[in-house]
Symmetry: C2
Subunit: 408 residues, 2 copies
């Protein structure tokens, strides 16, 4: 954790324990630091698992194996290494992951495919097998850790610990979700990576858990950006232990399926926004609301083009209502748009409508809005019913300082 | 022109006059500044024209009309307004462009379609018709201007004047090309825009001029990026007056067609690199050489993903041989790549080969290379024969200062 906390930070929420989930944190010593850096989560037998992974084709062995193993639907353990991403390390990196999976599966007498591993930190250095082995052995007997301790332990360049929780009524039972995430950029110095883990006591079939996670991902994690760069290790996993006693959710027609999916989506949205709030150098949290596109997907692409535009992000950093840069970003998105139907606003005040500046445009409320921490950019494409919301942060001297003003 | 000249600037070259091309610069007063801001170029009868334009769908009326009129193949005049981009101004902006075309076509007794107009500067403010009309009237009788004066007059946030020249032997005749360009970012504060104009005395059919310009564009202007943002007004026009007395180049089989196309491509490459050298906040000129991709186009996309990555650009700014960020950028390009065949180098020294750091990697020559002004990143995808070269600049505090530390 960095010493300087993001001005956009949120306090860690009160998070209840989840039956069937046991958290442990230990110090494996992947880096020369005095903090815990290995998180071991033991999951009850019969826990369902689902996952979404980076689309970066140069992904780590952890991602390759996780994507492969999530298909069998069951999980018994999660190991998260912080301080070494194990990415771009060839066959030795893969061997290190397989050794962890073997060690944990032997301990739990469970198939290797039910052990999930993530790593985050420096790249190009194979994860040291001896440190991992000793750390995991220690974790097997370590005392239980809190959510906040686990959230801190999976972090690297994060400036604050990030968690989210929600409940849903399924049948007669109340199910609980608790989740942690790390990340302070799509990718941060030396591949900081976004890693998110959602735990619930709900009884959910793996196929529905995957469907609900994928749907939530499309509207949450896939709608955030810090700097347009994509880590080689990004991973979000959802684990459902089935201990809540609810009628099992098999598919979207099961009782409570909608409520569970909504709670899962709410947790994913909270986690995604927390990552943006810890974006490198971020001083302002930006919500881009796109309406009137030809489809929701088109709206999302336009929103990301705006959110990834260095000129839009620097304008917000400068508290400058530069709607021309928003026009530019809409136009470069490669999606259907018509200059003469386009409207742009900030914080609820239109600056331009139907392709022209508003004659009676009052910049005072916009200027006041832009001086705040939470900024909204509204864009109406004027062509259809497609909508999307995308979240990002501004681009500041802090980003340059973090990423350029040091030598590796 | 800014007071602080880019450290990557090049002196303006000696450029010969081109028969059939008359340059004039005047002060229309589009902004409250003491410099010339209107460039009027009169072209001999029978001049061929070709053009390439921004793909931004929110393009200006100048671009819409230019794209429409370039098809008829003939040009008699070019007008470039600096200080007002006339973009996002609706029907009033279009009327302003049409008024300029009408005024010049009446003066030259030529069809309106043969008058080309570009504008660059603030957006959202219709180009003042009265200032344009008076400026153009003054230009008709103004003395001849030099290439350097014209290059300065089309500039806005540029920190130095940019020109390039070349010759080619076509049949028995030597033909000459002279060209100017402005731009200091794909888009700069308030839409600075890239505008390039190439003039030659060669006798070239419009269709071949267009084919040669489009081919050159694909390997030059389409291979540069400063910040991944795309102006709504980007325009490159080529004019051929036919005064050199060469046998007319009708198509690629005409004598000298290859030599002319090569000279045109060389001028385009020089102009494109000059824009990068004036990139906002640029301290280093970066050449990204991609080989081993599945196709040339795939190589270009990978090269642009590297050149647009904020993390790669900040690493170069920090003189940090962070090849992991290059791996990440290759992987996010969405093009075929295999982590375990990928090799990355800087300035001729490999840092990683076949997906792993080199065991005997010597960082000393790389560190020395990265301290210079001209940086090369070499990437071998290891899959095929596709190649491309892309040019960009680093991302520095200067970029943030220019784009965030002011209010519009």
């Amino acid at each position: 954790m960095s010493d300087t906390i993001s001005p956009l930070a949120r306090p860690f929420p009160m998070m209840p324990p989840i039956a069937g989930v046991a958290l442990h944190t230990v110090r494996a010593g992947y880096k020369d630091w005095g903090r815990c850096d290995l998180t071991y989560v033991e999951l009850a037998e019969g826990t369902s698992v689902a996952g979404v992974f980076t689309r970066n084709v140069c992904c780590s062995s952890e991602v390759e194996l996780g994507r492969q193993n999530v298909g069998q639907g069951q999980a018994r353990a999660l190991v998260v290494n912080a301080g070494n991403s194990n990415a771009f390390t060839g066959y030795r990196g893969r061997e290190a992951v397989e050794a962890i999976m073997d060690q944990v599966s032997a301990h739990l007498h469970t198939p290797r495919e039910q052990v999930f591993v993530s790593s985050t930190g420096v790249i190009g250095v194979p994860l040291p097998k001896d440190k991992a082995r000793a750390g995991i052995a220690a974790a097997f007997t370590a005392p239980l850790a809190t959510w906040e301790e686990a959230a801190r332990t999976i972090g690297t360049t994060d400036t604050f610990a990030k968690g989210a929780t929600a409940t849903a009524v399924v049948g007669e039972a109340t199910v609980t979700l608790a989740a942690i995430i790390k990340g302070s950029g799509m990718i941060a110095p030396d591949m900081a990576t976004m890693l998110g883990y959602i735990f619930t006591d709900a009884d959910v079939a793996p196929a529905f858990l995957q469907a609900a996670l994928s749907a939530a991902n499309a509207r949450t994690f896939s709608c955030i950006t810090v700097d347009s760069d994509t880590s080689t290790s990004d991973t979000v996993l959802a684990f459902a232990t089935g201990k809540a006693g609810n009628p099992r959710i098999d598919d979207e027609n099961s009782p409570g399926a909608d409520a569970f999916a909504a709670a899962l989506a709410a947790v994913c949205r909270d986690l995604a926004q927390l990552v943006v709030r810890d974006g490198e150098g971020a001083q302002k949290f930006i919500t881009v609301q796109v309406s009137g596109a030809v489809s929701d997907d088109s709206a999302r692409r336009i929103g990301l083009a705006i959110a990834n535009s260095p000129l839009v992000k620097t304008a917000i950093a400068g508290e400058d209502a530069n709607w021309g840069r928003v026009v530019m970003a809409v136009g470069k998105a490669g999606e259907p748009a018509d200059r003469d139907r386009l409207s742009i606003g900030f914080g609820g005040t239109w600056a331009a409508r139907d392709g022209q500046p508003l004659p009676d445009y009052d910049e005072a409320p916009v200027a006041a809005h832009l001086q705040g921490r939470d900024i909204t950019i509204e864009v109406d494409i004027g062509l259809g019913q497609g909508r999307a919301t995308v979240w990002t942060c501004d681009l500041t001297h802090g980003y340059i300082a973090i990423n350029a003003d040091y030598r590796s």
